[in-house]
């Protein structure tokens, strides 16, 4: 490797770093795009408290990775403002494969709160998410739901309160997916890495080799 001289070493290393950066973007996929899917705006109804009985939403994800799940609970005028809410994830054979806890005091009342779950799923397969609270003190929160037929989202199938299906109901939920970058977005990050690489090479190169712009005319 005698062709790499001491002078050219920074440029070679930078070129390698740029190439590595490109590979990390594609096919590495270190940066992902996001897509959000949620119920349409509408009036919400309440389940019973999710302390002893869970609210369960059956769903079919559209992409392979869910970054967060937005959940809308009611805190019953502050009486259900403490404890821990657990999201229990089950596959189509009702095998639980993930439990995600979240502090109820950190959740909004009557609005969606995004709970980071970062789950790898199979797009198109059926799953269930159960919402159940523990250590809630005076009262357990309720879960808000809407009409499925009018509001979706497309992912949601049946909505249960305990073992009972609530007709035409859909938990007010927001799926935030991570999905691969579009080719145009890959080009954006690749060109950014190229720009950074070119800037580093020009800064580390010999000063006399740098042909900057002529001074402005003034």
């Amino acid at each position: 490797m005698t062709w790499i001289t001491r002078q050219s070493l920074p440029a070679v290393l930078t070129a390698l770093a740029v190439a590595a950066g490109w590979l990390l973007i594609f096919p590495g996929g270190v940066i992902k795009d996001e897509e959000i899917s949620r119920t349409a705006a509408d009036y919400s109804m309440d389940t019973g408290p999710v302390g002893e009985v869970a609210a369960i939403q059956e769903f079919v994800p559209r992409y392979d990775r869910i970054r967060s799940l937005g959940v809308d609970i009611g805190k019953l005028d502050g009486r259900a403002g403490q404890g821990t809410l657990y999201l229990h994830f089950y596959d189509e054979n009702l095998q639980e494969f993930a439990v995600v806890p979240y502090d109820i005091s950190e959740m909004r009342d009557g609005e969606l709160t995004d709970i980071p779950v970062d789950l790898k799923l199979r797009a198109g397969s059926r799953y269930y998410v159960g919402i159940l609270c523990k250590d809630y003190g005076e009262a357990a929160p309720v879960v808000h739901y809407r009409s499925l037929s009018g509001n979706g989202p497309a992912e949601n199938l049946h909505f249960y309160y305990g073992p009972t299906v609530i007709d035409d109901a859909s938990a007010n939920i927001r799926f935030t997916y991570q999905k691969p970058l579009h080719p145009v977005q890959i080009l954006f990050y690749d060109s950014l890495i190229l720009l950074a690489g070119a800037a580093v090479i020009s800064l580390t190169g010999k000063k006399k080799d740098r042909k900057e712009h002529e001074p402005y005319a003034g």
């Binding site: 940066i31 992902k32 795009d33 996001e34 349409a40 705006a41 509408d42 009036y43 037929s149 009018g150 509001n151 979706g152 970058l181 579009h182 145009v184 977005q185 080009l187 954006f188 690749d190 060109s191 950014l192 190229l194 720009l195 690489g197 070119a198 800037a199 090479i201 020009s202 740098r210 042909k211 900057e212 712009h213 002529e214 001074p215 402005y216 005319a217 003034g218």
Partner: protein, 479 residues
């Protein structure tokens, strides 16, 4: 290979860049989506010139944009496409005429980068095709900034005349463009009054500056009584929410986010490099150029500060959208500073990056203009379903003037207060938003009607469900 481009090739490249953005902008115009403010513009343009001035006086903005649009409408017709083209023209003027001014003073590289930056700064593409005044405000403020610099360097009357016209036009276009114009006048005064003068030379330009300010004020004077009325109205009641730290933090994503991770940070890093380059220019003997660049960036910063202070003193009157008029100056700042120290490979990489950023921006704009809202589906659905004896009903009263654009008063009615017992229509197509309770099955049945959910539809920024409300089989129609 280090071949130098000929003058013709450089001109061709600049023209190609402008043409590229023109094609992008035009391709975003073939839709029928309008939002509230655009509906206001369209409604106002039905009036004559006097009506427009009176209509604007009772709103919150000054009238110049509406008058320009009205002139255009008189010549080219009032289609939405021609109104969108009105907004594209100033962007094109910046990318050609503005680029030529930058070329003369800062070279071809800065001029070409300016074209790309102006087109690619994330917030500009959306507003370049909106039936609003922002692209014209960008044009006036950008040219005022460029001519203020020329006036400072050359002290020629024609540049002072230029800043008189652009400042007055900016003030007549948007009040926060007016604020930016005042700031530019202030910067020019400071430069003329305090910049070092070579020994033995007389300080010049202050009289020209004073005369320019007076003429600008004189030009704006006829509007001052209306402006006072508008301020009075706004101080009683205005829709803008209180400005908090969180609001200020959201300014940056609005201006620079491209809907993929990290883009706001990328633009902020570019701005930081720009500041570093400007400081280096000042330190290394290009004081005027570096200072000019920094003042281009300072204009939006101080406009925002003015807006925030005014909001805290009076009532909230500032939103980040009002910084759009300064985005041309941000593009000038980045072009002048980033190109100054960029060696050829870095410059080419910068252009490649800006081109790719433009692709991302364009993809997002296509989504926003054609796929995000359901306007086309809504129009198609209602066109194919609404019969002669039917009516469209809406329950979001504030949106009437948006619906007015799509349907005449004979084709639509307000749902609230509808007398279902004496309703002559065969089917009521209810655009059901969350702003009024959905009629329940029991309520409808009580009056001999039933409803059927037809789907989720909407018009830009206004989602609704459509219900077909029809008579129960054994209910006779009212006359």
């Amino acid at each position: 290979m280090n071949r130098k481009l000929t003058l013709g090739q450089k001109t061709g490249l600049l023209a190609a860049a402008a043409l590229l953005f023109l094609i992008c902008y035009l391709s975003l115009c073939f839709n029928n989506n309008i939002w509230t403010d655009e509906a206001f513009t369209i409604e106002l343009l039905h009036a004559d010139f006097a009506g427009i001035i009176h209509g604007t006086a009772s709103d919150v903005h000054p009238p110049l944009y509406y008058l320009i649009a009205k002139c255009f409408v008189l010549v080219f017709g009032s289609s939405l496409l021609s109104l969108k083209i009105v907004s594209i023209i100033p962007m094109l003027l910046c990318m050609t005429w503005g680029a030529a001014v930058i070329w003369k003073r800062f070279g071809f590289h800065a001029a070409l980068a300016f074209d790309f930056l102006l087109g690619v700064i994330p917030c500009t593409m959306e507003y370049a095709v909106q039936v609003r005044m922002y692209s014209w405000a960008i044009f006036f403020i950008t040219f005022m900034g460029l001519w203020a610099y020329e006036a400072y360097l050359e002290r020629k009357w024609r540049y002072f005349a230029g800043i008189v016209l652009t400042s007055a036009a900016a003030a007549y276009t948007h009040y926060f463009a007016f604020v930016s114009a005042i700031l530019i006048y202030g910067f020019l005064f400071l430069a003329l009054a305090f910049a070092p003068v070579p020994a033995g030379r007389r300080r010049k330009g202050l009289l020209q500056w004073l005369l320019s300010v007076c003429v600008s004020l004189l030009l704006f004077a006829p509007w001052i009584p209306y402006m006072r009325l508008q301020i009075k109205g706004v101080s009683k009641n205005y829709w803008i929410a209180e400005i908090t730290g969180e609001t200020v933090k959201e300014f940056f994503p609005f201006l620079f986010d491209m809907d993929i991770p990290g883009t706001t940070a990328v633009w902020l890093v570019l701005l930081a490099f720009g500041v570093a380059a400007a400081v280096r220019m000042i330190v290394c003997g290009e004081r005027k150029e570096g200072t000019f660049a920094l003042l281009c960036l300072l204009t939006p910063v101080l406009t925002a500060v003015t807006g925030i202070v005014a909001s805290n003193l009076l009532r909230p009157v500032f939103i980040v959208r009002y910084l759009l008029p300064c985005m041309g100056l941000v593009a000038v700042f980045l072009a002048v500073t980033l190109c100054r120290y960029a060696p050829r490979p870095v410059y080419i990489a910068l252009l490649v990056f800006l081109f790719c950023a433009g692709l991302v921006d364009y993809k997002q704009s296509v989504y926003r203009e054609y796929e995000w809202t359901h306007t086309a589906e809504t129009e198609a659905f209602l066109e194919s379903h609404v019969g002669e004896r039917d009516i469209i009903a809406y329950n979001y009263e504030s949106y009437k003037f948006v619906y007015d654009y799509y349907w005449s008063d004979e084709e639509k009615m307000l749902w609230q207060g509808t007398d279902l017992d004496n309703c002559p229509y065969e089917t009521i197509w209810l655009l059901d938003t969350i702003y009024w309770p959905t009629p329940t099955d029991a309520y409808l049945a009580e009056h001999g009607w039933q409803r059927q959910f037809m789907g989720n539809y909407g018009i830009e920024h206004n989602d609704f469900k459509i219900y077909a409300i029809t008579r129960l089989p054994d209910t006779p129609a009212a006359d």
